[in-house]
Symmetry: D3
Subunit: 146 residues, 6 copies
């Protein structure tokens, strides 16, 4: 007998699933990945991360995704999460160039290994959506050309 | 003979110092803190972090500070940096409630110890500017009250 | 007008506050620390960390505290959290020597700087409760004495 | 001429190898993986991690594995280590559901990316032993269903 | 129209590219990997990491690579970077045994998971150059053989 | 009855204590700090970190301290350790300017918050020894002055 990958249906969960759907994700995918080991994790992510935190007022979804891309780049070992949140960022109005911009900024705070690895994960997510190449920033504000 | 805390004056450095000044900071403060050990670090921060990265187009300063607050919360051991960048966020149009909002969101990505410590650092910076208490988000979207 | 440091009263929150109380903590303390900046964080910690996670069956509170001491030692920059959770560990049946034992084991997984810093935080919490010195393990299984 | 993957045979090493064997591991496997580059690492792990630390009294092997799973989840970039220590946890009396429980608890301390990645590594180790699906915790204490 | 993977040519960039070349690397490889998403990252790495930092006097390239191997081992999630910098270390006069020695020393500071993962990455880079097996240190100073 | 802060006297421990002494440290200081909570930690540090790892051939003590300063800068939350190892670096032939140089290089790998915090810890240790100001690198290879 197959178990329901997302067994719980609190109001918070439903709110979170709707928010995630608005961001282009599907809570069922998270549930499916952990269905036979820890379905509760998908429920908690649905309830807490998306139903509680991502449903708070005070920041737009676009701004929340900017914060998330920065955090995941800094944390490291987050290729899977960056691929997902790149998609969510695109769905909430962040452009490919802006996602790249957030990761580039992390050169100052997290160092080049974290930035390089994050960029490769973002690149994969953009390639899947046929969004490469990303147009670079305007030259006048680009790297040093003294 | 006292050494100049900020000995270098490249175009990139001057551009970075101006950008930092616009964010309410003063490159001389960074230079002063490390003047007798590593003045070059202030120069590199002025040139690279503020002159190169923070002068890039493609994200507003407000958005860059949202990314920075998220990254510093996640990194940990960054109380000093969070106090500075809270001020810089305020000076680039991020409200106290929005700064708090970014830190709260990190409960999903970095866990509660990082969030608690970051919040105490942000709190200190806001207290210094007489900006407490911070008005909370609207109840209808706040924590679970089922 | 002073704000209520713990404004929310969901069933999950009350369950978490009771669990925390059983562990010797007081959710009001967390609320108080962040009352003028982010009272919601105390609510989320009450609801999610203590009401959801710490109320799950499947592990004793004693075992949960063993896991928590290990995690905080590994994470770093967690002196404040280790002081609190040392008290909570004592209240759930972990002895001082067992807390020390968990931290010592982290020499293999997190390295000596993390272990040294964690031990100093645990030491402070034990000193506050007049629980020093901690009796060492039996010599026969202690360090190399070849 | 092939080199011995585990060249050293101190009393501490033999004690550690025996302890590791009791946990279902084989020091020769670690030695083999690094035999042509750093056989000493296997020796140090045998001597120090397993011969010194894991042979200390004061915590059961079961409790030590609870601490280890928590630490590895928090540390990140530890898929290989989590796969090994999941097996060792099973061999020292931790059930699959209890291993999962430790990882789930880390949602509070290390955030969801670390938990998700750790769960996938644990899942692989359980799948290799034909131990999926893992029975969930009792509903009455599960996620919010208000 | 294909974009130039390394569009900028400042003096600092050229100096960095030359330094990198001296270390056995090629800035074009970094540029190529990110050419369609963030060519500026290769430019910044060329200018700042290699043109500014690696061109500073005061430490030999050999010593800089010792520092870098230590840092990457400690940081974690740096397999790609360790493979590259193992080659650069070899090209600046660090022997395979010395690279291994730096990683082994990290057992004290970063714990065995970081060391094990780093060693596997170093091993790959040495295998690609047909430099295995690495001769171990002299027995008299090796692991405990009391 | 007061306990001996360093109760164990294996050959490895004595070798490590001698090595530490050569580096200007005193194992009794570590033992004293943890005497009433975990004297074994000082023993393990004496035996394993200094008796095993730091007594290995293949790298000079000077080079080992370069690696250690890099690792501690990258790890974060290591002010106490950096103060100690700055002294040890000085005692093994690393100059103040070289210690600074290692920390500066970490701007590329660990980001500016880690570098800034590490530099402040190194600065304290140098100030205690009346070694400030540190002479900067030669201008010709310093920051950008185009």
């Amino acid at each position: 007998m197959r178990r329901d990958p997302v067994p719980e249906r609190s109001e918070r969960f439903l709110r979170g699933a709707a928010r995630l759907s608005e961001m282009g994700g599907d809570i069922a995918d998270i549930g499916e990945a952990l269905a036979d080991i820890a379905p509760d994790v998908a429920v908690y992510i649905g309830e807490f991360a998306f139903g509680d935190l991502y449903c708070r007022p005070g920041l737009s979804l676009r701004e929340r995704q900017i914060a998330t891309i920065a955090a995941l780049t800094t944390l490291g070992d987050t290729g899977r999460q960056l691929r997902f949140h790149t998609g969510a960022a695109l769905n909430t109005g962040v452009t490919p160039a802006e996602i790249v911009e957030v990761v580039v900024q992390m050169l100052a705070f997290a160092g080049s290994p974290r930035v390089f690895n994050a960029m490769l994960a973002v690149r994969e997510a953009l390639a899947d959506r046929d969004l490469l190449p990303v147009s670079p920033g305007r030259p006048a504000d680009g790297p040093d050309r003294s």
